[in-house]
Symmetry: C2
Subunit: 329 residues, 2 copies
Amino acid sequence: MKTIHSTLALLAIALASFSTTRAQDPLPSWNEGAAKSSIIAFVATVAAEGSPDFVPPAQRIATFDNDGTLWCEQPMYFQLLFAIHRVGVLAPQHPEWKDKEPFASLLRGDVKAALAGGEKALMEIVAVTHSGMTTEEFDKTVKDWVATAEHPLTKRPLLEMVYQPMIELLGYLRAHGFKTFIVSGGGIEFMRPWTEQVYGIPPEQVVGSSGKLKWEMVDGKPTLMKLPAIDFIDDKQGKPVGIQKHIGRRPIAAFGNSDGDLQMLQWTAAGPGTRFCLYVHHTDAEREFAYDRNSHIGQLDKGLDEAAAKGWTVVDMKNDWKTIFPPPR
Amino acid sequence: MKTIHSTLALLAIALASFSTTRAQDPLPSWNEGAAKSSIIAFVATVAAEGSPDFVPPAQRIATFDNDGTLWCEQPMYFQLLFAIHRVGVLAPQHPEWKDKEPFASLLRGDVKAALAGGEKALMEIVAVTHSGMTTEEFDKTVKDWVATAEHPLTKRPLLEMVYQPMIELLGYLRAHGFKTFIVSGGGIEFMRPWTEQVYGIPPEQVVGSSGKLKWEMVDGKPTLMKLPAIDFIDDKQGKPVGIQKHIGRRPIAAFGNSDGDLQMLQWTAAGPGTRFCLYVHHTDAEREFAYDRNSHIGQLDKGLDEAAAKGWTVVDMKNDWKTIFPPPR
């Protein structure tokens, strides 16, 4: 990987002088600084005809983690909020849950106690809320839920808990011929119902964790049933695997916020030519949340070290972003 | 599914009068007739602004089988030719193969005897030729092979054994805002190295069967190793599953040639609004091959019955196609 900081400093400075004019600024929610300049310099390097590091549009693949990179992941993953909600909705059909963990704790509102059962408890919650229905039924359930779901602390609609600077970045890359993908540890079927509306990313450009599916003819009508079995975990080492399975070529730019994204960034950086890797560092306890090396959600420890060693861009949310969330609709 | 034959006959006739002018004909290798008219009428129905059955471009997903639908599959799947070639290349490193089936028969040139071992024999051949290397090494191996591989009977380059009318159809659909995907029982990593060049279909729009992958750091360099284990079989019931996993929405048009494509066509047809399903029927023993209900490659039996019952388009290759293959380069 060539470090664009060194080879393109001049170009970055030249371009930064353009982008100071607010009206022309493609990234208005980004403060001027090293992070913003590095993005603009990278795009100029790969997308400008005649550039020695020009990359044809078809190869301009950019992959984005979702939780903590495109939208908020605190105080818990939003998909877990969905699962908890579903347990409540389904509880009347399951009187036995009152005496059975992890459901009993969940129904008492004690998420922490419910999750004390670790991965086994989590898988039980996922199984009852994410399987046993068709893909179309699940799609509708998610759409109905996100239409009204609110963040537990800010009380804002969940779909407004997305990072405005990253929305601008997605659009900026697409305007320069990039194809933008989500590559998330979250459930692929949980994200697809709303990513097009919120991020401009269509279902076929969403990569995520998934359960097994089963084709069934029901009364002469073909259906795909969601089974209570994990098919693929798109996290850590799974991210480059998911990229290869779904996209079939290596990204030239990758964006994450945690150690779960490290292998995706390493895989991206290890390709030939100019590459761009960026970590979103959650440093703003006032406007969002501040967490990194010791967080049990979105831990960023090894990734911070590797970013420093490799010269990757690290976004300091507090100082690099003018605004965090979009204005209320 | 609305039958476009009945509701759009007039429109089809109107459009057909346009397409008789060769210079304006988007499908010049198709003879005038019911098959060609049905395609043009379908596209007019879903792509024309103001049409009551208008489909927004983002939802214009079209899926194509590969073997026997986009390129020839006789006298054996071309991927099997590749595997046999690789066994020959690798044989010097495996002296034990001289006495071990299915390799002994393959090395004597007796493919039939080698495959007498059924699925187990086939899997052994696939394992030694499609795993034990990185995804990048495999990509290069396939590219090198297809660059010079010839059809065993016609002696034409394999990449010219594609169906010219289907190449035109892919372009015609894309010109009308469709996103074209391959959904094949063939190996995803075997197709991706050449589908963009030959069909204009990029790697991320190829769905196929796949083996498991493993992330490994080798001397500080990240690699994805191809393991000798099947991950997913994208055939029959697997095709709608593969479509859901990769694309995440239901196609509005699907194209196949065998019973292995039947579930994909059923899944496509069962969605709301106007749908289009097409079978390529191999009826031309002179210019290509003639086979259907009793073929062990590309068997088309249940599919023919269902196409007749549902009013799907069936292409009679002998009568519907002016030419089968593109002119030699």
